[in-house]
């Protein structure tokens, strides 16, 4: 494989990993606050259709991306009202949100099937983007790819280093203690849920505007569920979510390449299992290693909280 081809393969990996990274990071923040939202797939679809429809209608990709995040957040708001204010079961509500998102996005997107859109522009850095290998790998992506990397670092910093991040974690670890020392548990969780929705919306927008610039029903094809699994296997750490997303994306692409190269004598079905196996194996080994600390599932994950009156 020539250097040029290797770069192209790496670019494909980055593109395959980015939507998973966005969605998983958002869900990580939600779960850190003690809420389990299984509606990632539905929120991604809402983002995908909103991003696409607005970009096509207005010609502005920036507006499209903003609306995708808003659409995701709006879906999350429905989830928030039901589970946080009305104290509905989070698992059932999350599943319902996915089903709702599939139907709603299909309805809204009906007029956009088969419509082409210009892919997001690559942001080139003059001088740097022309460098061999490093140029295209590091300095020639679209804005969302950069944003996903920044978001990883930003969320890591926010959760570990800021006061607000600590409050969010406190709410997720012990809602009653956080409440008794005066934090508004419900408000913190609302904000986390909305943020998670916006990130899922961005994941969807990346799919419909960059990865495969088109709208098609159910185009997320299960990526929301993979993102949910990544959060668990990364033991709720942003850095490991990044690792997991790139690993999953990477092995997915490599197995496609292996098939194209004649399969190396391995059945295609086995190759197709590799991304799942590799990601689970690597993240489990990391989580079980001597440097692991606690397993880190937020103690109040999925628990209902009703403020004592």
């Amino acid at each position: 494989m020539s250097a040029e081809t290797a770069v192209l393969v790496m670019l494909t990996v980055i593109s395959a990993a980015t939507p998973l990274l966005f969605a998983a990071l958002g869900e990580l923040v939600v779960e850190k606050s003690g809420v389990l939202n299984l509606g990632v797939e539905g929120m991604m679809l809402a983002g995908a259709v909103a991003g696409f429809a607005v970009t096509v209608s207005t010609g502005s990709a920036v507006l499209g991306i903003v609306c995708a995040a808003l659409a995701g957040a709006l879906m999350a708001l429905i989830f928030g009202v039901l589970t946080l204010t009305l104290a509905a079961n989070q698992v059932a509500t999350g599943l319902a949100l996915t089903i709702f998102g599939v139907g709603l996005s299909a309805l809204l997107g009906a007029g956009f099937v088969g419509v082409p859109v210009a892919p997001l522009p690559k942001l080139a850095v003059p001088g740097l983007s022309d460098l061999a290998v490093i140029g295209p790998l590091l300095f020639a992506h679209d804005a969302l790819v950069y944003l996903s990397i920044l978001a990883t670092a930003g969320i890591g910093w926010f959760l570990a280093r800021t006061r607000a991040g600590m409050i969010l974690r406190a709410v997720g670890e012990s809602d009653e203690s956080a409440h008794s020392i005066g934090y508004n548990v419900i408000r913190v969780r609302y904000l986390a849920v909305l943020f998670g929705g916006a990130m899922s919306g961005l994941a969807g927008a990346f799919l419909s505007l960059s990865h495969t610039p088109m709208w098609a029903e159910e185009m997320t094809a299960g990526r929301g569920w993979i993102a949910l699994a990544l959060v668990v296997f990364s033991s709720w750490r942003p850095g490991r979510v990044l690792l997991g997303a790139y690993l999953f994306g990477g092995v997915t692409i490599l197995q496609l390449h292996a098939q194209g190269a004649g399969g190396l004598g391995i059945p295609a079905q086995v190759l197709s299992m590799l991304p799942y196996l590799a990601t689970i194996a690597v993240l489990t080994i990391i989580a079980a290693g001597p440097w692991r600390g606690r397993l880190d599932a937020p103690a109040c994950l999925g628990k209902l909280f009703r403020p004592p009156t």
Binding site: L8, T12, E218, A221, G260
Partner: protein, 360 residues
């Protein structure tokens, strides 16, 4: 007239429908529209397989106007859920029901037994009953036309082929394409990548990129989204649309597309029910009957190639050319079809081996 009904509506409505069942029987009044039901495996907006069947449904509505009323249920999972949906369509007065995916075969047959007066049409299956017909299209004939063009247009001599699942339906397409391409350019290689899905735009696109990175300059697919062709367009190579004309996604890249055209068959079968002439049958139609059509050739197809492609198409229509005419050797060099022989429909429908030149 059109009613889109969700599966939930069906559950709620089935009790009411059961009550009126006694009145449904054979068509009581000519003024009453014939109800025709469709069961889809995917969303109508997939721009591929289900989209094609839904075009057929719309063709029925356009053709018969107020005489016919159609209903569809989309995203029906293959398995027990399908049986429930089909049963509810049958029990709510639909007299003709199209179930449009292979996995609906057994549910369709079971429901057909319970509703002997309702006519069923099952796509791509192989089991009939007195009130169940099966129909399928010879998509592999379209692959012959594609292969002919590919043999001329390819520079690298490598074609990429994105497969869904390694079932005979897909394998026969790969083989028909490869044989036709190698007839023009004998050293053509066809690299196959399976994505284990009928529909996953992201993965289909990634598979296309992988194949292009390995030297493919022709892209074929047996999956339902336009993503591979879109990648072909972005990378400046050529390819073929699947199930519908995907020119809007790849104005330069699309050489032609294999179109599934169910309209004629659906209208004919609906008329048969209206005229009470419907009989159980098993058909496998192709280019000749118009169930498979080719989209207009793209600008990247030179005039002489266009003529050859048309000649191939016409030979398939007239029967002068058979997609699997010998001599054919398989991947391992074992002779499969002797000179002067060709594969029977039964042998094609059970194909589980690759011809020489396929890398899968």
């Amino acid at each position: 007239m059109k009613t889109a009904v969700t599966r939930r509506d069906f559950v709620l409505g089935s009790a009411a429908a059961a009550g009126t069942l006694g009145l449904a029987g054979p068509r009581a009044f000519a003024a009453e529209p014939l109800k025709v039901g469709f069961v889809y495996v995917g969303p109508v907006g997939d721009f591929g397989w289900t989209h094609g069947h839904d075009m057929g449904r719309k063709a029925i509505e356009a053709h018969f106007g107020g005489q016919v009323k159609t209903t569809f249920v989309e995203n029906v999972a293959e398995g027990p859920d399908a049986e429930r949906v089909i049963r509810q369509l049958a029990s709510s007065g639909h007299e003709l029901i199209f179930s449009t995916s292979f996995g609906f075969m057994n549910p369709t047959l079971r429901v057909a037994k319970m509703f002997p007066k309702v006519k069923f049409e099952h796509a791509t299956g192989y089991r009939t009953a007195p009130n169940v017909s099966v129909y399928n299209a010879r998509f592999h004939e379209g692959r012959v036309v594609c292969g002919t063009i590919a043999g001329h247009v390819t520079k690298s001599g490598i074609a990429g082929y994105i497969g869904s699942f390694p079932i005979p339906e897909v394998v026969m397409g790969i083989n028909a394409f490869t044989l036709a391409a190698r007839k023009i350019r004998p050293d053509t290689k066809v690299k196959v990548v399976w994505v284990n899905s009928w529909y996953d735009p992201g993965k289909e696109g990634d598979a296309a990129k992988a194949l292009i990175d390995q030297g493919a300059d022709i892209m074929c697919q047996h999956t339902d989204s336009p993503a591979p062709l879109q990648v072909a367009e972005a990378r400046g190579i050529h390819g073929f649309g699947q199930a519908s004309d995907m020119k809007t996604f790849a104005p330069n890249a699309q050489l032609t597309a294999i179109l599934d055209v169910w309209d004629g068959y659906y209208i004919q079968r609906t008329r048969d029910v209206l005229d009470r002439k419907w009989q159980s049958q098993s058909i496998w139609w192709g280019l000749k009957e118009g169930m498979v059509k080719m989209a207009p050739y793209g600008a990247a197809v030179p005039e002489n190639v266009r003529q050859e492609a048309e000649a191939a198409r016409e030979a398939l229509v007239s029967g002068a050319r058979h997609p699997f005419a010998g001599p054919i050797e398989d991947q391992k060099g074992v002779p499969r079809v002797a000179e002067g022989q060709s594969l029977s429909d039964k042998e094609i429908a059970a194909m589980d081996w690759y011809v020489e030149g396929v890398e899968a």
